[in-house]
Symmetry: C2
Subunit: 340 residues, 2 copies
């Protein structure tokens, strides 16, 4: 499993589009204690509101990694960012990037990192070899977030569940499966970058045996209903062996994002199909709640939606950003062994 | 997509266990016109019944590839086979291997192949980058073989269907997704070696647009019910967009092979779940028959099994090795557009 050195200095390059700083914002919001400050080129107009610290000064204050906090369309690493990256290497920091372009595709960076004894981490890629899955049941409890589609809150929901469990005194670990999640957690596996034969095995590696009353909260990927990525979703689900899952959904979507001909499932159909799939490796797997991105709804519309769907499904229906996930956490706590 | 140079010289190394020559037997049986002969070390006791031809003589008679016909447990390439492989390279043949050990992990082979201008093909691995799936419906008809488990006749059934369709005057192409299939077809994609995000995209690449009355017969991999490999199965199924599928099953198995805690599904449950999964990318996908490995049954038991299950499922129930797959092909022909 990939492990990153914290704390981080967040790099914003020459960003001028605020939404491009999604990764930096995620880190600022979800691991504020692990973030020392931000740095950028003079041309940048975007800031995430942190103290500006140059690489050398950040390293002197203990920064372990220089993290590219920008996820631009196309994911290319611009050449004019390289001097700052070299400065960070010289200062002794590891470099962490979620860009499509690999840091290791720049021979000068590879050479500089080797000379200074620091690591280049391309968290979107993985060259790690994982074993094939064994199906062996592991100790500890597991909850997975799954979705009707991609990019509708599976990471956010998993983080919110982890935070809420911890706040209630339950031991819980967020298990990251995507690039931003890995940066937040400081470790994880970019599951969609794993060779397909070993996806379930990688998922088994990600959430090893743990204490019987400990929860691993596993960040889902893709969707069983997605024409391109359902295989990733299924392999991750099987290797995770979840006892419980939370279905994530955005009611404003009418079809799979970017795939107009592919309708979204209904909530009860999605729950039924995820339950059926999860039963392959854990016969007790069941849905413990629905996490909704309600950002397009008025307060009244959301209240009615949550009430109606909760009644219909017999499950808590929450929005992590609007009321939190405590009703779902109640169900997880009810499943937690009390004497261990 | 990987493409291999035919005809082949089959290499048996120093094999002494007949079942290790599975790959060579498959090639001898399924593409006899593409096989010039066999070659082996003096210590070998195994033969697949072909004419012995040394590499230089085979090359002089037009052999395009020297194919490792042995799939030993562990999949390691023994050092004492290297002189014969070097001789084949010197003779100007490509080398084709389905071993776990990559040919390209031997610097001397890489150097020799480069000097002689021939290719080293590790068909179990792939370094090709595939696009993500688009879900776009492609022209032509497609039938996929799927299974209740791994290794129970999906490749064999796909080859038998292709042969039977062709014999009936229907244009059909076997689309290989595993190492032996790729060697037989001379092309294909080792789908379980593809990075998981791109499995469905690779499957789309494997069976491109074709004539409306042409059938692609797609070799299935793994099983939706397998705790380690279901993700591969699902991605391949989605990218294949099959109009029809054939369920393969071995009634002598009581659980997933090598996974004692994991029961096999019933035939009707398997058909229902494959239909549901296939509908994500093709709403017309349906089961057209069941292919059984009946080798453990007496003639009377097989006749009763086929009759009872055919009646119960409303589908042809065939064994490609015992009566053939014509009843399934009848259903495919009924689905073939007649005027194009």
């Amino acid at each position: 499993m990939l492990t990153l050195k914290k704390p981080y200095l967040l790099y914003l390059g020459d960003a001028t589009i605020p939404t491009d700083a999604k990764t930096a914002c995620g880190l600022r919001d979800w691991c504020p204690n692990d973030v020392l400050g931000e740095w950028s080129l003079p041309a940048a107009t975007v800031s995430v509101g942190l103290t500006r610290i140059a690489p050398a000064a950040a390293a002197a204050r203990g920064a372990g990694s220089f993290v590219i906090g920008i996820a631009s369309v196309g994911g290319k690493l611009p050449d004019n960012w390289l001097p700052d990256i070299h400065a960070a290497i010289e200062a002794g920091m590891d470099i962490v990037s979620g860009m499509h372009t690999r840091l290791t595709s720049f021979p000068a960076l590879v050479q500089a990192a080797a000379a200074r004894g620091v690591q280049l981490h391309d968290v979107r890629h993985t060259d790690t070899r994982f074993p094939a899955a064994t199906g062996r049941k592991r100790m500890g409890k597991r909850v997975a977030t799954v979705g009707t589609d991609c990019a509708l809150g599976k990471k956010y929901t998993a983080l919110a569940l982890t935070r809420a469990l911890t706040a209630r005194g339950v031991r819980a670990t967020f298990r990251a499966t995507g690039q931003t999640g890995i940066m937040i957690a400081g470790e994880g596996i970019a599951i969609d970058a794993v060779v397909s034969d070993f996806v379930a095995g990688a998922a088994e590696t990600l959430s090893p045996d743990n204490a019987p009353n400990h929860w691993d909260v596993i960040e889902g990927q893709g969707s069983l209903f997605h024409p391109a990525y359902a295989g990733v979703t299924l392999g991750l689900l099987h290797g995770s062996q979840p006892d419980a899952f939370v279905l994530c959904h955005d009611p404003s979507r009418t079809h799979i994002e970017y795939f107009p001909g592919f309708p979204l499932p209904t909530l009860d159909d999605a729950i039924a199909q995820y339950t059926q799939a999860a039963h392959i490796t854990n016969a007790r797997a069941h849905c413990v709640g629905v996490s909704i991105n309600s950002s397009t709804m008025s307060d009244a519309a959301w209240a009615a939606y949550a009430r109606d769907h909760s009644r219909e499904l017999g499950l808590p229906v929450c929005d992590p950003l609007r009321g939190g996930v405590d009703a779902i956490v109640d169900r997880l706590i009810a499943l937690t062994p009390t004497s261990v």
